[in-house]
Amino acid sequence: MELNAVNGDFASLRAELAKMLTDISETLNVELSQFEPGHIRLLNVIGDISKKFAAMESLTSTYYLEGLLSEHTASNKEISRAVHRLSSKGYAALIVIEKNDSVLPYLSGGTPIQARISSQLLETLFHPASEFHEGAVLIQGETIVSADHSLPLTEEIFWDRMYDVRELSAVGLTERCDALVLLVSDSGATSVGSDGKLIPVSISS
């Protein structure tokens, strides 16, 4: 899966990013023209620019995420909002969104929820004090069907680094069916599992 293959109007995203980057460049040029080694104020300028980069990241990853999700559910904005909030709080999460193949044969455990999708409910399910926070949530269409599922792990061996159970689960399930898996790690890095692959959608990872 190529992220850039996501549907949507990339021209408007590009234009917005270009505008933000131009702002950053202009600020930097002004600072460089009056650069003094003792000017500690520079740190605040750096802080503002870092915030702009964070905004650019958030804009882009929201764009990708909503585009990907829109093929599966009309609640794409709600889910993407939940993922961003969970990521900024550093709460790990694992969300399975069913597409054409039935995913139930691959899931074990689980507690029925049968609720409408809201970012608040998703954040509640993955709050570290929640009974369900270690398992995966299953979404079908516009419904949070159940929570606290275990997914099949992949048997692939990754040599580049240690993969945690959530990552192995996301790869494992998407090897077996066409579901989409959203993953937020403890560090707040977010990625999307699809077709047996994990693709990062955040910059900070």
């Binding site: 980057l21 460049s25 930097l28 605040n44 750096i46 980069f53 550093g90 910059i203």
Partner: protein, 206 residues
């Protein structure tokens, strides 16, 4: 990285040239933004990482400049702030420079301990009897903990300013001390100096 003032002027020149290189990098990225195709997120990730490197260098440069004449333990202090930040533990650490900081605060518990990052982290653990208040560092020692600092009376319209940050800014208005503060809510580390608050970007390893 050693905590000394040696090579500081080279560092500031290096900082300037890194900024210049970054503006070139940003210009190239801007040009490629206007073309179709390419890995948008990857490009952005690359750019933002290289800016974060500069941010860390700038932050380390200024902190070393301000602290190294007064304590030989800045690396130990940086390490503590970094760890407290990653566990989102609220913290307030005063490093005295020329002027006496004790006169400006309500005394807490005297310690007279050596500076280690582990002791600093233990002090700020929620539930520790010493966690509420500020640690005072002078030269290479932890003088005291649970000190109460004067709050700034400044009005901040653009951002929410909690008591801990107000205390850090407040003390730095009255003395030339440098005050590290870690937000309990977000874990964001910053420092107050001369009445202003600055972000602290730490090195991944010292």
């Amino acid at each position: 990285m050693e905590c000394s003032s040696e090579g500081l002027s080279e560092q500031s020149i290096d900082l300037r040239s890194r900024f210049l290189a970054f503006t070139d990098h940003a210009r190239a990225a801007l040009a490629s933004l206007n073309e179709d195709g390419g890995d948008l997120l990857g490009e952005l990730r690359h750019l933002s990482k290289s800016f974060a490197d500069i941010a860390r260098a700038a932050s380390t440069y200024h902190l070393t400049r301000l602290l190294s004449p007064y304590t030989g333990k800045c690396n130990e202090i940086f390490k503590a702030v970094r760890n407290l930040s990653s566990t989102r533990t609220g913290a307030l650490i005063v490093i005295q420079r020329e002027a006496s900081a004790e006169e400006r605060m309500t005394a807490g518990i005297p310690l007279g301990a050596e500076i280690t990052s582990t002791l600093l982290e233990s002090i700020f653990n929620v539930g520790s009897p010493l966690h509420d208040g500020a640690v005072l560092i002078r030269d290479d020692g932890i003088v005291s903990a649970a000190n109460v600092l004067p709050l700034t009376k400044k009005v901040y319209r653009t951002r929410k300013m909690g008591t801990r940050h107000r205390a850090a800014i407040g003390l730095s208005e009255h003395t030339d001390a440098l005050v590290f503060v870690v937000s309990e809510e977000t874990g964001t580390p910053s420092f107050a100096f001369d009445g202003f608050l600055y972000p602290f970007y730490f090195m991944d390893r010292e």
